[in-house]
Symmetry: C2
Subunit: 355 residues, 2 copies
């Protein structure tokens, strides 16, 4: 398994694609690749799944056909399979795609399949970067001041101060690679912005980040309302809080959308009002379109691992491929390693975590 | 200090009112009491603050004047004062009002002043119920299926399983007293709804709640999106997660409101559309009006302690008084005590927490 340090640049395939994962696979995946192949003309995809079915679908999608090589995988991991069970199915499309990343054939993988299985397989097969205790789940969302990166979104329900510091370094590298920011600002999620707020864990993490090379862009503690306000570019938190915050924000926005739908269908004048305001409302809807933000990334691994929402369509899947391509192209993992090396030089780790 | 068990029913004053706390005190407080006195004709308020100023304001508010007795307090706790410093000012309006609760003169207190100071003073002076490890901050918010109670919202950034169980019992009693529900459903906030999700702490808490007298109404784990969806009546979580979730949800709704304002002022047709849909939009705005949800409650204390938002107006303050009156009238603390007694009978505590 030649896990070369520069695999991203030299792997024969940009990405391995799990063609069989997700509610609308493989059709939506192939349609997404047709879009992605146009946006990334130099990308090469290793398409993994049922060879016969995929061959037929590729025949109708000329751009995807040109960008893809097919690899057969007889099995599919279903959405409700437990991660421990998924680990035992060696012939699944997800596993074969992940094996290609671990073997250095592809720089990353995109899958719309079972999240728990993808996280478990990625950790065990692709493996965590040697400098990292625990990988984190990161994603991008809309805010009043532009896109915001948040992590961890649920890979680690319990985190210590060191984990939070590593998330800050990884979030910084992620915002540079995927949002294209040269100097992303970083905030640590807490119950108040004053220095004495929160528990020992966040206070200790804040101190270490402040002393690190990203300290100049560290804005200290931020609060829940800062996520939508876009006060900082990167929000760092533990996986429990991050998962709850992400879903709470999504839930609040969904409630507003549902209530607005009721408002605009509640009377004839309200319907007319909707038609008049429609162009502006459509721009708002487009701006908040969840497909534009599709693609959660498991970062801190020895390869790029992107999870597309299972229910997404071609446009959403193509966006997840965009995120993965940005990470591969901008040498994301090399940036993390450099960041962590600088962190270790500045703040020697006191208690090495178990591997 | 005759801390009678039935103080709520027998105290000479229903509530002590900190007349000097908050951005618009004392005027907004007095205007709020004028409304509250009409809604609660039998209530008696102990109005605490600058005697001369309050006397002059009461002279212009006949209903409040009839319901209130004045008590002088020479000092005011400013909004930015540290709790430790606030504890030393014995002549503040907040402290004198809290002393009245601790002394059995009033069944509860409402203050729009410094939150940290109110929490610290209430814990130290009014004291925690003997059966409770830690008081929690609870509030009510809107959801797609009616009002929802959430706790803890930040009183305890670190909680163990036993704390979460006590929050469930207190949240149950709170929903009965303030929302008037006879059988509130309860959910424990987690990163997924499956039984194996989350950390040991939430899994242990879920098991204990399931075995308790409120187990029949326990719906197990809920996720962030369940808050706005109103899946359950009571959401139980630790103070760190609850504080972040509350502010994240508020932030998302504020973002939507701001964006809608931009939409409806973006063009002449959009403005006309707004005017046509306005009655329905106004109903939506009224339904979500933060003043309707004003009044966070510190529960688990030997008296009713309600914190009004500092920036609220008369309508908001009157609502905070409504919440406090509901708790006093419906023997809220007695319900908690009965609930905890039944809990202890069913699940003997293994490790008594330090007092």
């Amino acid at each position: 398994m030649p896990a070369s340090d520069r695999k991203g640049a030299s792997a024969p395939f940009s990405l391995a694609i799990d063609a069989m994962g997700g509610d609308h696979a493989p059709d939506a995946i192939l349609d997404g690749l047709e879009l992605a192949a146009e946006r990334h003309p130099h990308a090469r995809f290793l398409l993994v799944g049922d060879e016969v079915r995929l061959g037929a679908l590729l025949a109708m999608r000329p751009r995807a056909a040109k960008a893809c090589s097919l690899r057969h995988a007889p099995d599919v991991i279903s959405g409700d399979l437990k991660p421990t069970a998924a680990l035992r199915i060696r012939g699944s499309s997800m596993r074969v795609a992940i094996d290609a990343v671990a073997g250095g054939e592809a720089a990353g993988i995109v899958s719309a399949g079972n999240t728990g299985a993808l996280m478990a397989l990625a950790k065990i097969v692709v493996k965590t970067l040697p400098e990292i205790d625990r990988p984190a789940l990161a994603a991008i969302g809309p805010s009043a001041r532009g896109d915001v990166v948040m992590l961890d979104l649920g890979a680690n329900v319990q985190c210590d101060a060191r984990n939070l510091v590593e998330f800050a370094v990884m979030g910084d590298a992620f915002a540079r690679a995927v949002l294209g920011l040269t100097n992303p600002t970083i905030g640590l999620l807490n119950v108040g912005s004053e220095e004495l707020k929160g528990d020992e864990r966040v206070r200790q993490a804040a101190e270490t980040i402040r002393d690190s090379h990203i300290g100049t862009n560290f804005r200290g503690f931020v609060e829940g309302h800062d996520i939508a306000a876009g006060t900082v570019d990167v929000i760092v938190t533990d996986g429990f809080t991050g998962n709850v915050a992400l879903k709470t924000g999504e839930g609040a926005l969904k409630l507003m959308r549902d209530l607005l739908r009721q408002v605009f269908t509640s009377s004839v004048p309200a319907r007319m009002g909707y038609l008049l305001a429609r162009p502006a409302l459509d721009r708002l809807r487009e701006w908040m379109d969840p497909r534009r933000y599709n693609g959660a990334v498991l970062i801190g691994l020895n390869g790029v691992v992107v999870k597309s929402h299972g229910g997404t369509d071609a446009l959403g899947f193509a966006h997840a491929v965009d995120v993965a391509m940005d990470m591969v192209t901008h040498r994301f993992n090399e940036n993390i390693r450099e960041g962590l090396a600088r962190l270790s030089a500045a703040t020697p780790r006191e208690t090495p975590a178990p591997r």
